[in-house]
Structures are given as structure tokens and as C-alpha cells.
Amino acid sequence: MPQIRTAYFGELDYADGTIFHFPYGLPGFEHEHAFLFLKQPHTEPLMFLQSLGNSRLCFILLPILVLDPRYAVNPDAEDLAALHLEPGRQPVIGKDILCAAIVTTGGTDQGTPTANLMAPVVVNLKEQIGMQVIQADSPYSHRHPIPMGTKVAPCS
């Protein structure tokens, strides 16, 4: 089984069938076409979009419905075609597609983390093709503050 060095979890085994293809990369990372989605019990509900080609490149994601249970993603005809999804029908999150927001922490653990709800990562679950869907007329912000629970004192 092939191994990958990850940005956050050391070396991990992965199966070839778990690779997701991003034909256009992500804005700013147009040459990164292959990613793995990683999940670890101790970091739930976070997900990680780890680049296969660059071990240091790993986006932190949150499933969109965790942030907003009523979130509606609205890929246009071009996006649907790029994702090999049926034209003229909005895909269902969790059934047809995975939809997750990229988290920005601001570089320190002091600032409020935000999530890009304007441009979520959308993946065709059946064909394992992904892209970042930039929604021009979205009511959502690219810096949606992530609600936090009561601040907890660090464990000793």
C-alpha cells in the first residue's frame, strides 16, 4: 500500500482508490490535481484535504452542514459539467456530493477562525472529482466566523 507524508499526521497508508482528482486544482494552487481527504477521531468534525504532490500542503475543512444545516450550494452549469454531475439538477449534499468549507485560522490560535462559505470545496462522490465552486451571487461570506464553544482551559 502506498504511503504519504502528511502535513499534520506523519506518514499514512492510503489506497489508490481514495485519491480525489481536482482537474483545475484550487485557486492559488492550480497545479495540485490530486488530494486525499483525511479524518482523525481526535480532530472531528474537521476534515483535511491533503495534497498528494506536496506533503506540506493540507487544507483544514469543515463539512458545510456542520456550519449551517440549511446551507444550499448552487453550482452553475459550468461547475456541474466540470464535476461530471447531471445538468439541470442541484446535487444533494451527502448523497451526490461532499461539500466542505476551507478553514482559515489567521495564522495564530488567537484570532477567530473563519470558513469560506462563498466558495466551498465540492466533490462528486461517485467519480471522485473535486473543485472549489466560487459562487458569485452567494449570500454567504468568504470569512464566515466559526462559532466557538466556551473557551476551555488547557489540560494539565
Binding site: 502535513a7 499534520y8 484550487l26 485557486p27 492559488g28 494552487f29 481526535h42 480532530t43 472531528e44 468534525p45 474537521l46 506540506r56 500542503l57 493540507c58 487544507f59 483544514i60 469543515l62 456542520v66 476551507i102 478553514v103 482559515t104 485560522t105 489567521g106 495564522g107 495564530t108 490560535d109 477562525p113 469560506n116 462563498m118 466558495a119 472549489q132 466560487i134 459562487q135 458569485a136 452567494s138 468568504h142 470569512r143 466559526i146 462559532p147 466557538m148 464553544g149 466556551t150 473557551k151 476551555v152 488547557p154
Partner: protein, 80 residues
């Protein structure tokens, strides 16, 4: 900000090399045609914002910061 009114079929120039024509106005949408040198990048504003946000988001965070983020999210979920 300079504000100018144009109808479909009318255009304006920016400097000597950039021309923008209003091709069509339909409801809340305006279709523009842009003539510019190859060296001028033309990017939709939301794509530019997403690109900048992705670059910030791609900076790795410390393991402690990651643990704190996950822990506080978990608290947020279980203690609404």
C-alpha cells in the same frame, strides 16, 4: 470612485490599451466585453478573494493550535 452610465453597445476605455464594452443588459446581469493586453490579468473579484483566502488557509498551523480548534469545535457542537 468614478461613476458613469452606459447603455448596451456603448463602451469606455481605461488608459490607451484597455476597452470595455457593455454587450448586454438583462435583468440584474450585465454582459461585458473586455479588450486588454495579455499582460493584464482579468479575474472575477470573488475568484481573486478566494485565491487570497486559500493562500492564507494553506499556511500550516501548529499541532497545539489544531488541537485547540478541534476541541473548541467539539465543545461548540455538544454545548450549543
Amino acid at each position: 470612485m468614478l461613476v458613469m452610465k452606459r447603455r448596451a453597445g456603448e463602451s469606455f476605455t481605461i488608459g490607451d490599451e484597455i476597452e470595455i464594452e457593455v454587450l448586454e443588459v438583462a435583468g440584474t446581469r450585465v454582459k461585458l466585453g473586455i479588450v486588454a493586453p495579455d499582460s493584464v490579468a482579468i479575474v472575477r473579484k470573488e475568484a481573486r478573494v478566494t485565491r487570497e483566502e486559500n493562500i492564507t488557509a494553506s499556511q500550516p498551523i501548529a499541532p497545539e493550535a489544531l488541537a485547540a480548534l478541534a476541541h473548541r469545535l467539539w465543545r461548540a457542537k455538544s454545548n450549543p
